[in-house]
Symmetry: C2
Subunit: 342 residues, 2 copies
């Protein structure tokens, strides 16, 4: 079994001799070689320069020996194609924020390959350079999360503008969600056609609303996106952060594998989802701020917890933190690679 099989088969709920492993945000600031590249270019230029984006995508493959590569990009990369300005300062800033029915009407559902050609060129370079060593994951934000950013204009503790729209002007929210859904479908289908071998959909802000609002404002759009991606023949992973309260709904999204954060054990998450799913996760990224012994101990506990699942893709429960010591990331990956499902 080569690495390619290990990850893709786990997505589909087939168990190998050990779980495959990768880390969300594995190409990032915790790696000195990434910081070297960033000395030369800003974040958005890096996303938009295929040779450099491919280079940093490959860094954790070399350094950590993970079982999958994930396209180096950002969930807001499609925003300019929809007619908005995007900057990083250092968090994302979208301008002007989308606040009214009129703002939504002016948004474009873009011819995405013409608008963000660098994404697809990066994928083509990566498939050539990876030569099948590990599979390449493409990704996008779920429509709820992308829309939340477009309305808010930047990160927010409460997402008050977005929630005000959901609560007081749901028809405007739905019009926006429809446009972000159409855009996301085009964006991801083109990623698969360029060579992405699996797709992860990030619903980072899904957990900010009640299960009832999630069912109305996120889930139906997630289903549309995943249906379209599945029709392209690649496995899908859906990750709704901090959404344990909506697990029963999340389970109906149609993804091959479900991401889960560290708040629930993998066994508890599996029960909450209704069992039968391959799960991806779920070590608290803060564990990787501790010492190697702690990383090994908590990673082993996670692996034992996941050994009873139909499929387990070892990962963190959220993106790796910039202040993480590289040795701890290595210890995490090596602990997974040394584990054998008995």
């Amino acid at each position: 079994m080569n690495h390619d099989d290990l990850f893709l088969r786990a997505c589909r709920g087939e168990r190998g001799s050990r779980p495959p492993v990768w880390l969300m945000r594995q190409a990032g600031r915790y790696l000195p070689e990434y910081r070297e590249v960033r000395k030369k270019v800003d974040f958005l230029t890096l996303c938009r320069t295929p040779e450099l984006a491919a280079q940093v995508t490959l860094q954790p493959i070399e350094r950590l020996g993970v079982d999958a590569a994930i396209l180096f990009s950002d969930i807001l990369v499609p925003a300019p194609a929809m007619g908005l300005n995007l900057d990083f300062n250092p968090g994302p800033v979208v301008a002007p924020p989308v606040r009214s029915a009129d703002d939504v009407k002016h948004l474009v559902v873009p011819e995405i390959e013409a608008e963000v050609p660098f994404v697809y060129e990066t994928i083509r370079i990566l498939r050539r350079e990876l030569q099948g060593r590990v599979p390449l994951i493409g990704f996008a934000a779920a429509p709820f999360t992308l829309s939340a950013y477009l309305v808010e204009g930047e990160g927010s503790r409460t997402f008050g503008h977005w929630k005000r729209m959901l609560y007081a002007a749901p028809e405007v929210a739905h019009a926006l969600l429809d446009k972000t859904t159409q855009t996301t479908i085009r964006y991801l289908v083109a990623q698969v056609r360029a060579g992405a071998q699996a797709i992860q959909l990030f619903d980072t802000w899904a957990g900010l609303v009640s299960a009832e609002d999630y069912a109305v404002f996120s889930l139906p759009y997630v289903k549309r996106v995943l249906d379209a991606v599945r029709a392209e023949g690649v496995p899908t992973i859906y990750f709704a952060l901090d959404a344990a309260h909506a697990a029963g709904l999340v389970a109906t999204c149609g993804a091959d594998a479900l991401g889960t954060d560290w708040r629930q054990s993998l066994a508890d998450a599996s029960r909450a989802f209704g069992d039968g799913f391959a799960l991806q996760g779920n070590l608290d990224p803060c564990v990787l701020l501790a010492d190697v012994a702690t990383v090994r101990r908590r990673t082993l506990a996670m692996l034992q917890d996941g050994a009873g699942l139909p499929g387990h893709i070892a990962n963190l429960g959220h993106g790796i933190l910039p202040e993480t010591p590289v040795d701890n990331a290595i210890a995490f990956v090596e602990t997974v690679k040394g584990f054998r499902i008995s």
Copy 2:
């Protein structure tokens, strides 16, 4: 039935003709009369000046007609009594942060009444001025949440320092939790003896860790605090934010009533807790950023949802936001007061 009965009886799981209502952070920046007082004094001076703290505590009683008053203070007010410096800038800053076994050893379990006499004087003034119109709630942070702030030194997205301590040096974390527990017990027992008629324990950061870690690092200390407060004969409310994943554990804490945020409906939260509890909550504070019609509609839905519970204290699911229009806060309170449990 007077107001006093309405709130205190609901805490104890007795249903009146309608739920009592108050708002977390009801004395705060959304009120123009509060901002007037704050023009003259900074936040910490306000907390430490009994006449002024009592004045702002009473403002929402007059303006909104809520059914309970809550002491104007901050969960970090006991920190200086433990030997640390406290400032607001505008969020809390504790210095030096508590990071090592040695740091913990130097923390004082204070003679709390001598250290923060202004808290108790504020309570005595309030009981005189309230004259039984509405009951007075005292409060503190749960030991987990207070300890999280002492270790972090300020608010944090990840609470990485605190988690590193939990994961890599649990014995240091337990030593700290023991000291914050002893301090909190003294702090709250003295509040009751000064006149607080109910106590709310805020565990704002409990939801940042897994259910398993919550069971080890928060719950046992919450139980100790609630046991000590209950022995003083007043009802207790425990509110662990964003902790739906640990609901079964939260339910064992021993509080008379449990707070819950908006992520779960009251009916779902009640089921997750194991039924039989009076619940407090749970409108998303962001609903109060919308229009009056939306506030009324969503408040009514919450009230209907809560009508089947053993007891319901209408409240928000987190503190009222500073940018909330006062009219929306009034609409929330009036909707509750106009509701009749059929």
